[in-house]
Amino acid sequence: MRELSMNYKELGLKVGLEIHFQLDVDKKLFCDCSSSMKEKEPIAIVKRKLHPVASELGEVDVAAQFEYLRNRTFFYEVFKNESCLVELDEEPPHNPNEEALKVALQIAKLFNCRIPEQIFVMRKTVIDGSNTSGFQRTMIIGFDGYFEFKGKKIPITQICLEEDAAAIDREENGNVYYKLNRLGIPLVEIDTGVIEGFEPKEIEEIAYQIFLIASSTRKIRKQIGAIRQDVNVSISGGERVEIKGVQKLSLISKVIEKEVERQLELIKKGEKVQKETRAAKEDGTTEFMRPLPGAERMYPETDIKPIKTEDILKNLEIPELLNKRIERYEKEYKLSKSLIESLLKTDYFFFFEDLARKFPKIEPTVIASVLSSTLKEIERKEKVEIKLKEERLIEFFDALNRGFVFKEAAYDILKKMNEGKSVEEAVKELGLIPLTKEEILKIIEETRKEVADKKKLIGVVLSKVRGRANISEVIKMIEKLS
């Protein structure tokens, strides 16, 4: 059993978070490729070597880099529509994606950052092959920011907009295969300063708050792999250890707890904790990756002009903070905390309000639960991918609002709609054409001949009209008759 009563304050726990979010924009940061990552099969593979780059004397061990790279050959998988000559390092970058830039600036504003009057794109040297160019393009969008958590200011040291790296596919005998479709997707990195005086659970909440604040822009991707965090952990007597690639926010507290345990054990044994980078595994434990790297090796990206922020900021809308919206959903729409939470996990959190405003006759909780659970249920049970665009969902809720379909039939109708059917076609195929008053009365009368008990009667009638009538109206009709 793990000690639950660890006193993290006494241990001098210090944590720093680096949280990466992919932005949900159509195009990549420095070219016009699609950022959708839908293609499965590569159309070509390009073979490349990377070479050490000499820098100012004495700083980099070129010889060691040379040996490392001599034994590695990189293979880049090219995907249609999702990689072009820019990803292949065969064409200079285009101008930065304006939408991504705006979203990043919105995020910087939401975190109360200082924004430079001119932004410079930098090249950060990376030689693991994850960037075809040998560097990652990155720019500081804001710095010296903060946000409040439990009455304390959490410092945000910097917010960067950068290109995501290519994802590794496989490695065999020094041949490393990368997929180019992820390379270049706009990525925002939010770095906190040192966070002290909090429990690991609270630090996880802080990370979640960062996610919520950034999500206020409506442009944060939530899929697995679209959010990644690095966690820096140290305790008194230990050392700063960087844990890379924590894939889920909900793993953060576990990763911190395990790392504190690991450092404590080393200290107990009288061993020295090494400054190092460790990789996070799925169970929250970590493994050694490499010694902690020195200062970033950065120099200017000369192919892209500096960006003046003044004019962009003039017309920049600052979105409502997500926390405020959550409060509103609770008060105005009477959604429960758990419903809000599951809605947050979907792509429809903001869309919910558009629907609730458009269709006042539908209970907001019905809209929220269709969006957060019915659609998920179809995915899970039918093993299909929900492809319904927002306008198709509007079509469904409009029918619900008009009384053409009923909430009990939501699962079946949406399933059909996902197969490409219109609401009308779905209703016809399922035999769910709404019953007229007369038809309902007829069913009640017929059933009454067989079932005498009123409670049972309601049950049987409801099962007969299910999905074809408004239940509360049917009950009222039975009540009236008896």
Partner: protein
Amino acid sequence: MDIYEILKNKGISIGDKIRVDSIEGILMPRTEFVENDVIVLKMNNGYNIGIKFRDDLKIELIEKKKEQKLEKQKHKEFDPSKPTVSILACGGTIASKVEYKTGAVFPSFSPEELIEAFPEIGEIANIKVRKLFDLFSEDMQPEHWKIIAQEVAKEIESGVDGVVLMHGTDTMHYTSAALSFMLQDLPVPVVLVGAQRSSDRGSSDNRVNLVSAILFAAKGEIAEVVVCMHESSNDDYCAVHRGTKVRKMHTSRRDAFKSINISPLARVNYFERRIEYLTANFKKRDKSRKLKLDTNINPNVGVFYFHPGSKPEFLREMSKFYEGIVIAATGLGHIGINPGNDKLAKNFLPVIKELIEKGIPIVFAPQTIYGRLNLNVYSTGRILEKAGVIGSLCDWTIETALVKLMFVLGHTKDMNEIKKMMLTNIAGEINERIEYEL
């Protein structure tokens, strides 16, 4: 108001560590895109930002820039068992160092620096390096070609086994054509090489290209002027192209250089350090052969690009500046002569005749880039050829036709002689057989 001037008066210059309000960093130089009132600062985390100057901005000097001492590298010993290659640098930074502290990129030219950057070249050959000039490709002039040819001749006369020319890529094929005409009866290879990706990045094609070029100069059997660059987007092979048949065919790709209307002569396997020959049709290496240097050229030749809407008057105007004109003609070698007296069409025939009569040769080259001219097929072509246009049955590129005409006009002004020389294959610029698979 230039904020950098104000800072200078305060004793702050580029490279100094300063504090602007609460932000610490190194004062960086400004590029042409940054306005006068913006301070560019490299923050401690390595990022550059621009801060607009205001009167209430507090700027303090923290530390003056420290001068960096460059360590001298040891000179590599001469190894008599290895071939010797001379590298002449004409520009284009095929090797450079990055100073991450300031973000500055410095070109490297000494043999020590080159061997430090590319240790494997020392394993291939003894290396001599000389810088001729440091020019952007687009600043290269015909007069520079003469200097390069003379310097290459000097190196060859000193007995080296091959010469490598580092050159910017944009006009590399003009230089390679010019050298092909100027350096006749070469005993050893002369290899032009460049890079399409800047040398400060780990992905630069400079290494594969330079190593392959040096290997070819040292051991290649082809004693001609050639261009050695990436064969495909992969970092595995370099193609070796004949200097008169090569053309830059892409703005940015590594494999931008292609042989036109002919196969590359050879390819270099970078991984195995092996040369594969793709033809036997070349001049073989022979160190006893005597090089013939002929740098007589007349740079007053221009190109007229014919297009719908182009004006005969402009072609006439060009003759005030040039003593010979290459016309980039359409299709098999056509420009408008309006045989049907169309109201809108233009007739170039009078001006063509007029210029040729004045002693200005008119040479055609194909706009299509690929394929051979043939002025016999349509009456337009036949009429133009009768008027004295040169180029029927030639498959040269526009650039090679231009350079050849400069070379020819450096030797004669007689129109018959010009025509004869132009149609004589001097340096493989005319390929008699275009094979199907090309």
